[in-house]
Amino acid sequence: MDHTDIFEIGGRRLSSRLFTGTGKYGDDARIPAVCDASGSQVITVALRRVDLDKAADNVMRHIPPHMTLLPNTSGARTADEAVRIARLARAMGCGDWIKIEVISDTRYLLPDGYETAKATETLAREGFTVLPYMNPDLYVARSLADAGAAAIMPLGAPIGTNRGLRTEEMIRILIEEMDLPIIVDAGIGTPSQACQAMEMGAAACLVNTAIATAADPVLMGRAFGRAVAAGREAWLAGPGAVATLARASSPLTGFLDGMGGAA
């Protein structure tokens, strides 16, 4: 694909609309190859207490320098906790993008829309590029837009489930009704599902589990990169009309004598 289709967000110009993650890799050393094969230019990380009892590999060592870092606020249960994590993440000196996750439900890890909007408002005012993870609800989306979000990130299915675009109709409504970019996050399990989200008009997809837990993460990363690009091209191209009855692809005239067939 040529690079005339650029996704501009947070002061960056992205030629890839696939965002990737760094969680759940059997071996973090695969991450650079996944970035390369998928074409992804944005990658998520989380912030945690250093484990002082055992020396751990640092994930930052495996993230190529050209990647835009998108720290998340996972672990936050309230807006205040998300704001605290976001400020700490910015103090790491890796930019001012933040994916807000405010979750107190431990079974389905569903995001708290009210707390997410509060955190979005505070952090957007502080100059962060705020990408909130959210349930695909139109009113929550509007409150996030009012709060200053740079994009909104509705879930396709619960985090880490690989169950696909279970919320398809609600995401379709967000794409139709919202001016902000819609980045489908969570639940996408296969490239075809990412492609479908892009064909619907999503601005981007964030895929972590489906790539990291594939038997071959590098090959799966490449497949996702291609699927997202293909879906985007299909959206830009404008799909033809859907019909109920068959419509012949060739003229229904000029048949040989004695033949009356069609198509």
Binding site: T22, L47, R48, R49, M92, G93
Partner: protein, 66 residues
């Protein structure tokens, strides 16, 4: 003197900085961010941040996440 690091009590010699503490724990200061008594201390201020008895320190770093 006693301080608390990531919830655990530790004994350190007086006059040490946050930078000293981070190094003494075998950590790379460039990949760590700290909170000292709930105030954020970015890496470039570790060396000028002295520690006092009773300080509560959180040391954090990026880990894998989605």
């Amino acid at each position: 003197m006693l301080i608390t690091v990531n919830g655990s009590t530790r004994e350190i010699a007086p006059g040490r900085t946050l930078h000293d503490l981070v190094l003494s724990m075998g950590l790379d200061p460039s990949v760590v961010v700290a909170e000292l008594n709930h105030d954020i201390v970015p890496g470039e201020r570790f060396g000028s941040t002295g520690l006092n008895a009773g300080d509560r320190i959180e040391l954090l770093s990026f880990v894998g996440g989605g």
